[in-house]
Each structure stands twice: as C-alpha cells, then as structure tokens.
C-alpha cells in the first residue's frame, strides 16, 4: 500500500515552506507556538486576515501567510502549525522546525499561553536554541487574570534574554507593542541574548568537540550548537534536512564521522538516553523559570471548567448531552429556516414572473426564456432559498460549539469507540469539520499523524453529512417523515436528522474497523488529546465569521455549480432523442437499477448530475419532475410534496433517498481534495467506491425488506 511521505500528504506540507514575498526588503516573521494558544488569533489581528480560528488544538493544520505594514516596512507573517516541541516527531513539527532552522525568518514570534506557561516555555526554549531573533508573545493574559495567574513579564524577559510582550489578541490588546518589538528586533535595535540551556558535563563536552567543525561547514547559516546537539542525538531526519537545505551530505564526511564517534563516547557514559536528558534539562529549565515568574493566587484555577466537564463528559450525561446538543442545533436550524426559506422562495417566484414578462415583452424566443429562466434562474433560486437559511443558522451554531471548546470533549467522549475500531480519537474532530464541508474535513485529517489512521479518517469522512446535504435531508424529512405532525413537526424532523447522523457515525466506526482489519491493517497509534479550557465565545465575531467565511463561501460554490447544472438539465429535458427527451431517455435507462435501491431513475440521475456539488441534487430532481408536466409552479414545501407524490414517491422512496444522501460518492471538490491530500488516485477512488457501495447495499436492503413485508 506504500504509505510513503508522498502518499500521506507530506508533499503538500513541504510546499508550505515557501514564503510568498514580493520583495527582498520585506521582513519575514514566523509565528510559532503550542496548539490552541490563540496563535491564529494573533495572526488574524496582525494581518487583518480571517484565518479560521477555533478552540481546539490542531486548528491550523496548514501554514497561512499574511502581511502587514509597520513604519513603512512590509512584514510577511507565516503562521506555522502548532507544535509542542521541535524534535520533529510529526510532519507538522518537522515543517515548523525546518522553517525556523533553514528558511530562517527575520524574526520568530513565539506565542505562549499565559495560563499554561510551564509547558509552553518548553517550546520557547527549544526555539531559542535555534535562533536568537525571537519575540515572546504572552497571549491570553485576560484568561490568566481571570484564573488569578500572575506572570511577571519583565522578569521573564530578563531571564529569557528576549523581549516579552503581553497580549490579549482577541481584543487587540498589546498588538502595537508586539509590532514595535518585532520591528526593533528585525532592525537590530534590540540585541537579544537568549538564555542558553546547560546540559550535563558529558553532553557539553561532546558539543564542544563537534561545534568548531560544524561551524566551519555551516558558516553561520544555522546554529552550530543546536546542530551538534541534534547530531549527537542521532536524529536521522536532521541529517536529511541538512543535506537538502545546505547541500552538505554529513553522512559522507569521514572527518565528521570520526568526530561524532568520539563525541558520542562522552555521551554514552551517561546511563540514560540522550534525548531524555535533553528534554529533561529543557523542562526543568522551564519549571525553574515559572517558579520565578509566575504567581498562582489561588490553588484551584479551573474549578468552573471542571464543573462543566463533570456534566458534559460524565458517565451518565456525557453521551446524552452530546446527542441533545446536536439535536437542538438541528431543531433550531429547521425551525429557524422554515420562514426565511418560504420568504426567499416566494420572492424568487415573484421575480421569475417579472423576468418572464420581460422576456415576452422583448420578444425573446421561447427556448431562450426556457434555458435562462426555467433552467438557470430556477435552479439558482432553489439552491439559494433552500440552502441559505439552514446554512446561515447551522454554521454560527456550530462555530459557537467550536469556539466554546466543546469539540475536544466530543472526541474525549467518543474515543473508546474509535479505539475499538483501531482508529484515531481525533478522527471525531475531522468528522466535526465534515459537518461543515467534507473537503474541509479531509484537510483537517492532517492532525492525525499516523498515515494509516489518517487514511481511515479520509476515506470515511463522507459518512458525515455535510452542509450541502443537510438542506436535502431537512426538506425530505419535513415533507415526508415529519409531515402533518402539527406543532411537533420540526421536533420530529430534527430527531430524524439526528438518527441519520447517528447512523452515519455508526457506519464510520464500522467501516473504519473493516479497513483496519483489511487493507489498512494495524493497531491504534499513540494518542494524546488536549482538552483546552472553555472559552467565552465572541458571539458577534462568530456570526460575522461564519456567515462571511463559511456560509457565503459554500453558497457561492453551490451557485457556481447550480447555474451550469440548470442549463444542462433544461437542455436535457427539452432536447429530444427520437421521440423522447434525453432526460427521460437517461432516467428510463437508470430506472430498473434505481428501483432495486428504492429510488427511481430521476433520483439516481440527480445524484449523478449532482457530483459537482450535493446542493444541486434536489433542484435537479424538481426540474426533472416538473419537465414531466406534472406541475408548473412550485413555491412551497407542500407543493414539493405534491410534486414528489405525483411522481410516484412513497415514504420508502423518501427514506431510501435520505439514506442515499448520507451514503453515496463524495462531491467532486471532496474527491479532488482527497486526491491532493493522499497524493494518490487509488485512495481517491476507494473513497468514491466505499460509501457508494455501502449506500447501495443499505438502500437495497431497506427497499427489499420493506417490500417483502408489504410495508410499501
């Protein structure tokens, strides 16, 4: 199966090392830090960009770049993936390390979480070993204050030997000071004198032995002491990196080899392993720094977090609370979307009348009116009126949960199931992203280090219904499953959708397990998950961000696909092949097979034509049925029900269609993303095949069993 760097997305990670700078005069800044320290928020506040932020570790899986102007100088800011250390244990760490080490930004800003300084300093100290041009950004000061944690910034700066700037990036506090410090370090106005970590006598001796030789070779391009330490540590990939970036093959140099052998003799007299000793020295240094600079005013800093967790992750309430929360999100979405959807639909309907009159008045030929108004315009109108309201409600609600820090708790609650399927616990986080958009879910899979578990997460991501599919599910449940239930209608609709999602999650686990037993054999890799503190969400920013960054983005994509799709479907319905239309011809061809699955030929064809985007499946279906002459006007969900009933739908058709919405091929964007992330057509093809076959089996079984029992 060849799980090489190439096939696991490392290739695309390497790409990120390139800095897009339009002038050599620009100052390049790298942002480094632990996951979930508000690094992305600092990035956004500095650059004014809207990099997606969220309260869960690993949010920034790809490197983002932006820029700002300060004192007439342009600063390019590179947001590195969040890492706990720079020992290159994972692809992200290697990227961050190689960037700091070999690309050598002019200034590195290390973002630290003030509420968890001790662990954060570990990374800062490692970075200080690589470069002296560092500014420490002590972020989340407000949170620290709330938790009664007091950090002595001046003392910390004195000890570290680099500027320390306190910030509260969410409110923009301290950013001017940060920019000023970065400027001064870049200009050389501040001379840093970074803290040097002292290792034990043997290591220091060994380093002294190697350093002069390395200094000669690297000629100031990288820190010789740091390189000596890594060579002593026997770090294999640092050798490759040195070779790649400096063009010097250390393994071929016999002088160095001899020196290294001698140096290693010193170290081998220590009875514990070198890496442990190095890490321990750094951690102890961080501990000592904290002891001197941090004051905890209370013993118990996160009492509230613990109280909330004791409900949201408790044995009894953990899972029910999770389902309830998801159910409420669906219910609010359905309930809230009803009215604006109807409003939009009648608005578009009115406009259609106006457009038609204009066409008639202008004496346009009827085929032109057909293609543009009945084809393109009608499909667009449907996509917007059906898609926009649920998305505009669902995205902010979901972003709210994300911002609060609830998603890692979901991963915590669900992890055991994933462990049993030999999958990674963080797969849940990638699934959560999949709710928004499966392509985004696929990219989020980068947070999983093990190539095997990442592929499982990639292949199964499609079992989570994305936002392009929710409106379809909502429409179908509303008009069939939960129809005529009076005041409980939206409650039932929400419960049905919850059931669909639970089925999707079960299928994810089931398929993951099968994959782990067959083509992706293996045991779960090591798993650590940070549960970040709950944070007060910024409601205003959530709404703006989720409407503009997510809703409009997804809607735009859908509209771009819907317009040509409307064009094509109108042509298919109106161009004849012999004496029947192409549309009918194709549908008739698909019909016998589709009937086996509890669908009909038009439904299956709508899914096939909906490959570019799932949002257009229902509009295509409506167009197809309407072209059969069943109905000419359609302005409400009730009419849609009537149209579908007239076209031969039963409750079974609705159920099978919903099941097929959940389980069929991923949309084209998702498939392309899979191809890009896995660097392999084979995995993209499997990601196409697996949900499709699963869907067909499920639909077939449901349809046949129901028919056999005489239920439909």
């Amino acid at each position: 199966m060849g799980l090489t760097c190439q096939s696991t997305g490392l290739g695309s990670l390497q790409e990120m090392l390139k800095v897009n700078s339009d002038s050599p005069d620009n100052i390049v800044i790298a942002l480094a830090g632990n996951p979930n320290t508000g690094k992305s928020t600092v990035f956004n506040s500095l650059t004014g960009l809207k990099q997606h932020t969220g309260n869960w570790p690993g949010k920034t899986v790809s490197k983002a770049q932006g820029s700002y102007i300060y004192q007439d100088k342009k600063f390019i800011v590179v947001d590195l993936p969040g890492t706990y250390s720079l020992f290159a244990n994972s692809a992200e760490e290697e990227i961050a390390r190689n960037f700091l080490c070999f690309i050598q930004p002019d200034v590195t800003v290390v973002v630290l979480d003030s509420t968890c300084l001790e662990r954060n300093l570990n990374l800062a100290l490692q970075i200080l070993e690589i470069t002296r041009n560092v500014v420490i950004c002590l972020n989340l000061l407000d949170e620290a204050e709330r938790k009664k944690i007091n950090v002595n910034l001046q003392k910390l700066a004195d000890q570290l030997g680099v500027p320390v700037i306190g910030t509260n990036a969410r409110d923009g506090v301290g950013l001017q000071e940060l920019k000023a410090a970065v400027y001064r370090v870049a200009k050389g106005e501040i001379t840093n004198n970074p803290l040097k970590i002292n290792y034990n006598e043997q290591i220091e001796k060994a380093v002294e032995l190697l350093k002069p030789f390395i200094e000669k070779i690297v000629n100031g391009r990288i820190n010789a002491r740091w390189a000596a330490l890594r060579l002593l540590d026997g770090d294999k990939n640092i050798l490759d990196a040195l070779n790649l970036y400096l063009g010097f093959d250390f393994s071929l140099n016999s002088d160095l080899e001899k020196l290294l052998r001698d140096a290693k003799e010193y170290v081998s007299s220590i009875d514990i392993n070198m890496r442990d000793l190095v890490v321990e020295s750094i951690i102890k240094q961080a501990e000592a720094l904290c002891a001197e600079t941090v004051v905890f005013k209370t013993e118990q800093q996160n009492l509230l977090d613990r109280k909330i967790d004791s409900i949201l992750t408790s044995k009894i309430w953990g899972i029910p609370a999770m389902l309830a929360m998801l159910g409420v999100v669906f219910w609010v979405t359905i309930k809230g979307a009803n009215f604006p959807s109807a409003m939009l639909a009648s608005g578009f309907d009115y406009l259609e009348g106006v457009l038609t009159e204009l066409f008639l008045a202008g004496g346009a030929p009827s085929w032109l009116h057909g293609v543009l108004v009945l084809g393109v315009y009608k499909t667009l109108a449907w996509v917007v009126s059906v898609m926009l309201p649920p998305m505009a409600i669902f995205f902010p609600l979901f972003t709210l949960l994300e911002d609060l820090g609830y998603l890692p708790r979901v991963a915590f609650n669900m992890d055991n199931f994933f462990k049993k399927a030999s999958a990674h616990g963080k797969q849940v986080l990638t699934m959560c992203m999949g709710f928004g958009c499966n392509a985004a879910g696929i990219i989020a899979c980068r947070i999983i280090d093990s190539p095997r578990e990442r592929l499982i997460a990639v292949i199964t991501n499609n079992f989570v219904p994305c936002n392009g599919r929710f409106p379809t599910l909502i429409a179908l449940t509303s008009i069939f499953i939960a129809y005529n239930l009076g005041p409980f209608q939206s409650l039932w609709a929400a419960l049905s959708i919850l059931a669909v999602v639970v089925l999707g999650v079960s299928l994810t686990l089931f398929i993951s397990k099968i994959l782990s037993r067959t083509i992706l054999k293996g045991l779960p890799s090591s798993f650590t998950l940070e549960l970040p503190p709950y944070r007060k969400p910024q409601i205003g920013r959530i709404i703006i961000r989720s409407i503009f960054d997510r809703t409009l983005f997804v809607l735009f994509r859908a509209v771009m696909v819907a317009a040509p799709a409307g064009f094509v479907i109108w042509l298919m319905a109106n161009l004849n092949l012999g004496d029947i239309s192409i549309l009918n011809y194709c549908a008739a061809f698909l019909d016998p097979f589709a009937r086996f699955l509890g669908l009909d030929g038009f439904i299956l064809m709508a899914f096939i034509l909906g490959l570019p985007a799932n949002e257009i499946v229902i509009p295509i279906l409506i167009m197809s049925y309407m072209s059969q002459g069943a109905m000419l006007e359609l302005d409400s969900l009730f009419m849609m029900r009537q149209l579908f009933l007239d076209s031969g739908w039963t409750w079974l058709t609705a159920v099978c269609t919903m099941l097929f919405v959940l389980n069929h091929w991923p949309c084209a964007t998702t498939l392309l993303t899979i191809r890009k992330e896995t660097q392999s057509f084979k995995w993209a093809f499997l990601s196409f095949l697996i949900p499709t076959i699963t869907g067909m089996i499920i639909c077939f079984t449901v349809a046949q069993v129901a028919r056999l029992l005489g239920l439909a």
Partner: protein, 79 residues
C-alpha cells in the same frame, strides 16, 4: 517502602501522583516527554471518559486525555 509504584491508568480519579518512570518507547515516549512528563512531574487524574477510556489528567497546567495504552507505560507514585 510504603509507597507503591503503579502504572498511571490504575491511579483512581481525583488523586495525585508523581511520575517515577516512563516505560514508553519511540514515538509514544517522545510525545509524553513533550507534554512535560519527566521524573517527578505532578499529575492529577481528573476523570474517565463515559465509556471508561481515555482518562483526563492535569499535567503542568493543561488537561490531557491519555488512552490506557499510553498511561499504562507511565509508572507513578501516589502522593
């Protein structure tokens, strides 16, 4: 010796311990070290997941969930 050395996953929730020895190897060991788990680190066992595993621990100011596979390789002494 009254104190007993036990693997971390057997530590009852709500109690504290100090790390004595890390028996994990390779990648798992490096990850645990990155979290600041070295000899003498204070760890509090907070709570178990609804399904029994993983368990959340308070480690150096952060809450980290570890599966029993990881925790069983960390040997600790109750304090």
């Amino acid at each position: 010796m009254t104190e007993k050395i036990i693997p971390l996953h057997l530590l009852p929730t709500g109690s504290f311990c100090k790390v004595k020895e890390l028996r994990a190897l390779d990648n798992m060991r490096r990850r645990l070290l990155d979290l600041g788990l070295i000899n003498g680190t204070l760890v509090e066992s907070l709570r178990r997941s609804p399904s029994g595993d993983p368990t959340a621990y308070q480690i150096r100011g952060a809450v980290i969930a570890l599966r029993s596979e990881e925790a069983s390789n960390i040997f600790v002494e109750r304090v």
